[in-house]
């Protein structure tokens, strides 16, 4: 109980301790010769030397609304990440040839030099069990797993040949969301809030909503701010209970007292800033102030129960529960109120076929049921409000699934399932300046490798930034002596899906 919240005194003590250790550290450094070599390194890590002219970061008003390089079509993004990786071969990437090969041993040539997460030896091919049809005027392939989404296929632009170079969840999620498979880089949402600020001073610019019972495998780093100032990290909100943890007043503390204590803390922080000039201190002050304003605004925006009944019916929402549908409706409300980036993670898509929940026959059907109607509702709801034009929806995952049936430990699996596959998978985007009703990219006859329109994770990121008005090559942040960008040295905007 005690460790849930720090008392003021404890917190001050902690801070003091941190400062003291830092001072000691510097003293020791400067005594030794190491200081000679070390001091420019230290300087490079603080924003003193790297900052100013080419950062967009104003520590006193870190979330001030800003404009990108070019007039962007999208003003906000709703990113739907299906953590675990759904099977593109069951949902969108139709491979009739694969059906014919069902049950046959996989040819050696496909396995040569390949590494899989679980497949061992020679696996069998697994025909798709999705019933595919071409939908709408665009003729996009969508299977019976997504009956509702199939009805709005003409609104979507599919990327059918995305590839990544990571075949384990955590690194692949990091690569997708931060541009690097290793920890420490800012997430896409952080970059966007760093570049655009927040249109609504009472709400964070970057909100994260999770469902499916677990956080993504890579943990909170997938919405972390990396080396960007910490104000830009995603604020994890919940669709049931308190929307933001620790936002409400503790027992026996009223608004005035809370305000007074925040003022006192901020005063102390201002003093600290005067002494040490660490811009993080300023960010901290503005975070306290934002949290105080959110006390008033958040409960209202975060509450979906005041939406009319027909909206609930449309989305399939049940207020008070933790569900993907609730998060989707909440995402619409947040975007309407000016939040720039809403990141949804839904856990439970890792269809290996080693249990009912991870089977293509049952587990995947259930997962699709949880998202299909809600996403369709989101698209149509944004559309009728005139907001789809300026809201980019991205649906995707960290990688795809193999055309072979998984044979974990060389054994037959109890259910149909597929292993992780990095070489080809499907992502779709909708609204926000994408060209509705397009399909770009194609995989080979069994969906193993891209044969046309191959795009990388970086290309997807570059495209999202482009739609928001950023040139991904010049959108940088100086850190450790060099400018960093989300796409590092890669990435080309995928022009064929732009409107």
């Amino acid at each position: 109980m005690n460790n849930k919240r720090l008392s003021l005194a404890e917190e001050a003590h902690l801070l003091d301790a941190q400062l003291a250790t830092r001072r000691l550290f510097l003293k020791q450094c400067s005594m030794g010769l190491g200081a000679l070599a070390f001091s420019p390194l230290i300087n490079a890590c603080t924003s003193e030397s790297t900052g100013s002219s080419n950062t967009l970061f104003d520590p006193t008003k870190p979330l001030l609304p800003k404009t990108p390089h070019l007039p962007g079509k999208a003003k906000s993004v709703i990113y739907l990440h299906m953590a675990g990786a759904p099977s593109q071969l069951e949902l969108f990437d139709y491979k009739p040839e694969l059906k014919k090969l069902d049950g046959q041993l996989c040819p050696e040539s496909l396995l040569k030099g390949k590494k899989f997460a679980f497949i061992r030896g020679v696996p069998k091919m697994l025909g798709t069990i999705g019933e595919f049809k071409q939908r709408g005027q665009s003729g996009a392939w969508v299977s019976h797993y997504m009956p509702h989404l199939a009805g709005v296929a003409d609104e979507l632009s599919f990327l059918k040949a995305v590839h990544t170079d990571q075949f384990n969840h955590a690194p692949a999620q990091l690569l997708m969301q931060t541009g690097s498979a290793r920890l420490g880089r800012p997430s896409l949402g952080s970059w966007v809030t760093y570049g655009l600020g927040s249109e609504n001073a009472n709400l964070p610019g970057f909100v994260v909503l999770t469902s499916g019972g677990q956080n993504p495998d890579a943990g909170k780093s997938v919405w972390g701010s990396g080396f960007l100032p910490s104000v830009y990290q995603g604020v994890h909100c919940r669709s049931h209970g308190e929307p933001v943890l620790y936002l409400d007043n503790p027992a026996n503390v009223d608004g005035n007292m809370r305000k007074a204590s925040i003022d006192a803390i901020n005063q102390a922080n201002k003093e600290t800033y005067k002494e040490f000039n660490d811009p993080e201190t300023l960010s901290r002050i503005s975070q306290y102030e934002m949290a105080f304003r959110m006390q008033i605004s958040a409960p209202d925006v975060m509450n979906i129960s005041d939406e009319p009944a027909y909206i609930h019916e449309m989305y399939g929402t049940e207020p008070g529960k933790e569900s993907f549908a609730n998060n989707v409706l909440l995402a619409r409300k947040l975007v309407e109120k000016g939040v720039r980036f809403v990141q949804l993670f839904d856990w439970g898509w890792d269809v290996h076929g080693n249990s009912t929940d991870t089977s293509l026959e049952i587990g995947l059907v259930n997962k699709c049921k949880q998202i299909d109607k809600a996403i369709t509702a989101l698209i149509l709801d944004l559309k009728q409000r005139g907001l789809l034009e300026e809201t980019l929806i991205v649906w995707g995952s960290e990688f795809g699934r193999t055309p072979m049936q998984e044979n974990r430990n060389g054994l037959e699996m109890p259910f149909k399932g597929r292993d992780h596959h990095a070489d080809a998978f499907t992502i779709w985007m909708c609204g926000g300046g994408t060209k509705a009703g397009t399909t770009y990219g194609e995989t080979d006859e069994i969906g193993f490798y891209p044969v046309d329109g191959k795009v990388s994770v970086y290309d997807v990121q570059a495209t999202i930034l482009h739609l928001l008005g950023f040139n991904h090559e010049t959108f940088t942040y100086p850190f450790q002596g060099r400018p960093f960008r989300l796409t590092d040295v890669e990435g080309t905007v995928i022009k064929p899906i732009l409107s």
Binding site: P65, K66, T67, P68, H69, L70, P71, G72, K73, H144, P147, H148, L149, A150, G151, V152, E199, N200, N202, Y310, M314, G316, K337, G338, K373, T376, A377, L380, D381, K383, Q384, R385, G386, E389, G469, T474, V489
Partner: protein, 448 residues
């Protein structure tokens, strides 16, 4: 051998400076014990210096660098190699002069630093150490059709993307692109490429090679030419690459010209009006709006057109229209969603010449107000949750650029839409009220 130069040089730099440092440290009591290692370090550093000088000599003779620009670096490098050899001898046969090794190492360190710096200038450019480098603004194409193609457009492109390797200091492939005469001369393979009839400028050929091709220019990893730049250079080369050619002589297509607009932060699509002569408003003029709580942003950084968001201001009313005096031409988008404005506000709104996007959702406006908009350049109109009827919609038929109108929860009836759609075939009307049927597996989207 020459390629080793940039690698090898780091050994003498590190080792000789270390030797000097240890000589100084050796003056103190604690540093004495390291003195024994100095001759060995100097020896290794000296060998490195000699190798560096040799490899540098080969690199120079490969012809990528102009001799005059390398000369100074070469001379210092030779001096360094000789100096380090001498010092090795001084360690082997120490003369009886106090601190002779320390002095020798000091002199050598100066040689190392100067040589290294001169070399650095060659590879990274003269100004690589100066901190306040002039910020490289992305070169913008002059839209003026009377612009000189080479001097005003192509020379800056070469300067930005080629001269680092094809300029005064380096001439990769014996090609210089710093002056028009040198461009026409070409490199070691001349100006032209291919057989007599399929003749084209070698440069066009190399620019068009796929990026993965080793011969592609600029090489992979360097800042690439944009498609527009390639088209302009190609066209200019094919017309004889004369210095007097004007932009209009190239007879470029609309597309290329509008692509150049994009670089000037102007959208090429018709989402926003083109306003080449409009000046941006000063920040001070925007302060009253911001103080009132509006979010005011240019469409893009440096763009003269503004987007204004009043959405969060529940007390925003008709009289706030005053605040926009003097900004009329600059307003491209205004969001009044949920504010307390009425038809009166549409008077000042309809006087905004560049207004393209207008959000009036959930306000008290009526058909009468909408009728005032008939002479605007609106592209997007949001009327969600208003009491607009088909009468008001009809008045919009004179809007030439209108693309989409949102009418969810308005008073417009589906029965009237067929006729209205016929009047305005290019406009997308969305009445909303979508229902998603859960029972059937197939989705049906119905309009209200």
């Amino acid at each position: 051998m020459g390629v080793l130069h940039p690698l090898v040089i780091h050994f003498p730099i590190a080792l000789l400076l270390l030797a000097f440092f240890l000589e100084i440290y050796g003056l103190s009591a604690t540093g004495k014990k390291y003195k024994a290692s100095i001759p060995l370090i100097t020896f290794l550093g000296g060998i490195g210096a000699v190798f560096s000088a040799l490899s540098g000599y080969f690199l120079m003779n490969q012809g990528d660098y102009e001799v005059s620009s390398v000369e100074l670096h070469r001379n210092w490098g030779i001096a360094l190699a000789i100096g380090s050899a001498l010092l090795i001898v001084l360690y082997r046969f120490p003369p009886k002069i106090p601190h002779i090794h320390l002095l020798g190492q000091g002199a050598l360190s100066i040689l190392v630093l100067v040589t290294g710096h001169l070399g650095g200038n060659l590879t990274h450019g003269e100004d690589f150490l100066s901190l306040d480098k002039p910020k490289k603004e992305p070169k913008q194409i002059v839209l003026n059709q009377d612009a000189l193609v080479y001097a005003e457009i192509i020379a800056p492109i070469f300067e930005e993307k080629c001269v680092a390797c094809h300029g005064k200091t380096k001439q990769k492939g014996k090609l210089k692109l710093d002056q028009i005469e040198n461009v026409l001369k070409g490199g070691k393979n001349g100006f032209y490429h291919g057989s007599e009839e399929g003749k084209m400028a070698l440069m066009s050929h190399r620019m068009r090679l796929p990026l993965s091709d080793k011969q592609h220019m600029p090489p992979k990893g360097k800042t690439q030419l944009t498609e527009r730049e390639i088209v302009i250079i190609e066209k200019w080369l094919s017309l004889g690459a004369r210095s007097k050619l004007l932009l209009k002589d190239l007879q470029l297509t609309e597309e290329v010209v509008s692509a150049s607009m994009e670089e000037k932060n102007m959208p090429k699509t018709a989402d926003w009006p083109l306003v080449p002569d409009l000046a941006a408003v000063s920040e001070t003029m925007l302060t009253p709006l911001r103080d009132r709580g509006m979010v005011v942003l240019p469409l893009a950084s440096g763009h003269p057109l503004l987007q204004i968001n009043c959405q969060s201001l529940s007390d925003f009313s008709d009289k706030d229209g005053e605040l926009f005096k003097g900004l009329e031409k600059n307003i491209a988008s205004i969001r009044l969603s949920g504010t307390r404005i009425s038809d009166k506000s549409l008077k000042w709104i309809s006087g905004l010449p560049n207004l393209s996007k207008l959000y009036l959702d959930n306000t008290l406006i009526t058909d009468e107000g909408i009728a005032l908009l008939k002479n605007t350049e609106l592209r997007y109109l949001n009327l969600v949750g208003t009491s607009i009827t088909e009468k008001g919609l009809r008045t919009l038929s004179s809007l030439p650029l209108l693309k989409s109108v949102y009418l969810y929860q308005s008073e417009v009836k589906i029965e009237d839409m067929a006729e209205i759609q016929q009047r305005m075939p290019k406009v997308y009307f969305d009445l909303g009220g979508y229902k998603i049927d859960t029972l059937t597996m197939e989705v049906r989207t119905e309009e209200k």
